[in-house]
């Protein structure tokens, strides 16, 4: 019983959430970098998934990296981190779904997660995405520490 409680405590700890937050935030910032720099390649990747209609592919490819970047930055900084976590969670769901669909289609496309060239999509990709999604959910529920936005209000509350 004690062990369960201890484990639960560890798993629900705010510093764990902080670590995950920084990790996920950093991940998204990193991921967004190449996409922003090479919009044409990313647009190609988007198109390869065959989910976004042709007229929206380019604008999607231009805006999505910025959404990732902003959300990542917000998450790392701890500003509106829950909203950012929600957006990142939704993105994760979207990626996972898209990957799953294309796996079902048996489409031999690259993931395009970090680079245009690279790994092929696979079940591993989906598993990885699901882990990241769980981390994001954890952040959504347990993140409290070192939030830039909450710094003053927390200080005042302590006073």
């Amino acid at each position: 019983m004690k062990v369960i409680l201890f484990v639960k405590k560890i798993f629900t700890h705010r510093y764990l959430a902080l670590v995950l937050r920084l990790y996920i935030g950093g991940l998204f910032i990193y991921a967004s970098m190449y996409k922003i720099n090479y919009p044409a390649e990313f647009a190609e990747t988007v198109a390869s998934y065959q989910i976004v209609p042709y007229w929206a592919v380019n604008i999607f490819a231009v805006v999505l990296p910025w959404v990732e970047l902003i959300s990542g930055v917000l998450l790392v900084a701890g500003i509106r981190s829950r909203s950012a976590a929600v957006i990142i969670g939704l993105l994760m769901i979207m990626f996972t779904t898209a990957t799953f669909i294309n796996l079902m289609r048996d489409a031999a496309i690259t993931c395009g997660c970090f680079q245009a060239v690279g790994e092929q999509i696979s079940w591993r990709t989906i598993g990885r995405d699901i882990i990241w999604l769980i981390m994001t959910i954890h952040i959504f529920f347990y993140d409290k520490a070192l939030q830039l936005e909450n710094r003053f209000s927390l200080m005042l509350r302590e006073i």
Partner: protein
């Protein structure tokens, strides 16, 4: 002269003239006797004269007169020619005589005729009261004091008493009675006079007494006035020292005293009040002003042991006043008074201006005055205490007011702070809630910012891409349906171009189609299409939801000069549905 007249009367008895003369003589005698009797005052003498005249005129050898006081039962006997033993017997038998002759008359207390009357004549007497020779007895009842009897013995010449004799005797007796009455009146008047004189004296004494009383009343009035004045003067004062001074002045004025002093000692506050008058400052003894040495407490501690009650002054014995260390003057009278357990005082008064000593009354007055004075002192003390308390109260009130003001100010400040705190708290809480809340605005904001930044970066990026699909700006190529295309395919007149990337082409394509991926268009075109007839019919296919490869390739081919470029309607899937030949 009387004896001569008597002889003459006897001589002329025989003849009528003589008789007349005799009568005249008797009348004359009667008148003379009346005159003589009326000039007398003493009843005894009167009785004697009366007896003498009676005997002398009628020639009688012996006789007696008893004047009887019926009240005291005493008789006064006058006699002539009566034996001593007879007189003695007569004296002794006065009560019996009264019993016999007067009892019935006087007990009734009725007015009686004052006339005399004859009781017996010519030796009738068988009783033993009267002398044996008594021949005639005359009785009169005038009043209680001077009734009486007259007894007469035998006549010298003739044995028997004539009617004339009796008439004469009765007349004479009446004359006597009148005289007695007169004499009595005189006596009464004299007595009255005496009484009056006595009364006068008494009156004078009473007058003197009244005068004395008046004086006493005056002094009482004076004392009362003094008391009233003192009370009046003191009543307006509340200051202890002033009360003492005023009282001393009043007391000295009231008793005309040269010197006086009052010393008041408060052992609780260790304070002494000293007031004196009529003495030069240099000669003052003992405590001066408010100086306190040990003598004061010692003296008053000593005085306290005596049973003093508050507001009751006590005279100090004179021997204690001599060289008294506390009293500033040489006092001839001193009073010790006590106001409460801690406050004692001594009043010393010098001798009077008149050099008289203090009378008991004055001492009493002085005590009363001092009692009064102590009451005022007590009041003044109470007043002082009250004032002190009042001042304290006022001070405390001010402090309290200040505290209240401060408190209310603090309260206000606290209220403001509370409000601020509540406000800050609510702000913090709402902020906390807000930060914890996921709002649609965040999403919209993030999306809008991302859109803006994306577009901006894309525009500034040299590798930027077109946000609007290029195909929208091209002239759309004509479409050809799968069936018609099959006919052309069968005829072998048309060239089928697969526009998709080579990966897809490798997976499945129309049999005989040439792969012309968009990304490798220039290269592949140069390799495979450059020598193609521009009029050759080309049917382009290959699109998916995300990419309209066929359109773009068709556009590029058209722009390279190919005239007949068509798009396969429905694409590969339409071809596939109809089971037209596919590879691989």
């Amino acid at each position: 002269m009387k004896i001569a007249n008597l002889k003459q009367a006897n001589d002329c008895k025989q003849d009528p003239l003589m008789e007349l003369e005799r009568r005249g003589f008797l009348l004359k005698t009667l008148r003379d006797a009346t005159c003589e009797l009326s000039s007398l005052e003493d009843t005894e003498k009167m009785a004697e004269v009366f007896l003498l005249i009676s005997m002398g005129t009628l020639g009688i050898t012996q006789g007696f007169v008893v004047l009887i006081d019926t009240e005291s039962l005493k008789g006064q006997v006058s006699s002539r020619g009566v034996e001593d033993q007879d007189i003695k017997r007569l004296h002794e038998s006065v009560p019996q005589i009264i019993q016999q002759y007067f009892s019935n008359t006087f007990q009734k207390d009725a007015p009686l005729p004052i006339e005399a009357h004859l009781i017996a004549r010519d030796g009738f007497l068988d009783n033993h009261f009267f002398p044996p020779e008594t021949k005639a007895l005359i009785q009169w009842n005038t009043d209680k004091k001077y009734s009486g009897l007259m007894g007469l013995g035998a006549k010298i010449l003739t044995e028997a008493y004539t009617d004339e004799d009796i008439e004469f005797l009765l007349g004479l007796t009446n004359s006597l009675l009148v005289s007695i009455k007169n004499a009595r009146s005189v006596t009464i008047i004299r007595q009255l006079n005496l009484d009056l004189q006595q009364k006068n004296i008494e009156q004078e004494e009473a007058l003197k007494e009244a005068e004395r009383t008046r004086k006493e009343l005056d002094s009482r009035l004076f004392h009362l006035n003094a008391l009233y004045d003192t009370t009046h003067e003191l009543s307006g004062l509340t200051d202890t020292k002033k009360i003492m001074e005023t009282f001393l002045l009043m007391a000295m004025g009231t008793f005309s005293i040269e010197q006086g002093s009052i010393v008041l000692f408060d052992s609780e506050e260790k304070k002494a009040f000293v007031v004196y008058r009529g003495i030069e400052k240099e000669k003052v003894r003992g405590p001066r002003g408010n100086d306190i040495d040990n003598t004061l407490p010692q003296f008053f501690e000593g005085a306290k042991t005596k049973d003093l009650t508050p507001m009751k002054a006590q005279m100090v014995p004179p021997e204690r006043l001599l060289n008294n260390p506390v009293c500033p003057i040489d006092a001839s009278v001193g009073l010790l008074f006590i106001i409460n357990d801690t406050c004692l005082g001594l009043i010393g008064l010098g001798s009077k201006i008149t050099e008289q000593s203090y009378s008991a009354e004055e001492q009493e007055l002085l005590t009363t005055l001092v009692n009064n004075f102590t009451v005022f002192l007590g009041n003044a003390k109470s007043f002082e205490t009250i004032q002190k308390l009042n001042a304290d109260l006022e001070k405390r009130n001010i402090q309290l007011n200040k505290t209240i003001e401060e408190l209310s100010a603090s309260r206000l400040r606290i209220e403001v702070l509370e409000r601020a705190k509540a406000r800050v708290k609510s702000v913090i809480q709402s902020e906390m809630k807000r930060t914890r809340r996921v709002s649609a605005i965040d999403f919209i904001l993030i999306l809008v910012v991302a859109l803006g930044l994306g577009i901006a970066s894309n525009l500034s990026n040299p590798d930027g891409i077109n946000l609007v699909p290029q195909v929208w700006s091209h002239k759309p190529s004509p479409m050809i349906d799968a069936h018609w295309a099959k006919l052309k395919y069968d005829a072998g007149t048309s060239l089928f171009v697969d526009a998709r990337p080579s990966d897809f082409f490798k997976q499945r394509h129309i049999h005989g189609a040439i792969n012309l991926p968009l990304s490798l268009f220039d290269f592949v075109y140069m390799m495979k299409f450059s020598r193609l007839d521009p009029n050759q019919e080309i049917i382009v296919y290959g699109r998916n939801i995300s990419r309209l490869y066929d359109q773009e390739v068709a556009f590029k081919l058209t722009s390279r000069g190919h005239v007949d470029v068509k798009l396969l309607s429905g694409g590969l899937s339409a071809w596939k549905e109809k089971d037209y030949p596919l590879a691989p």
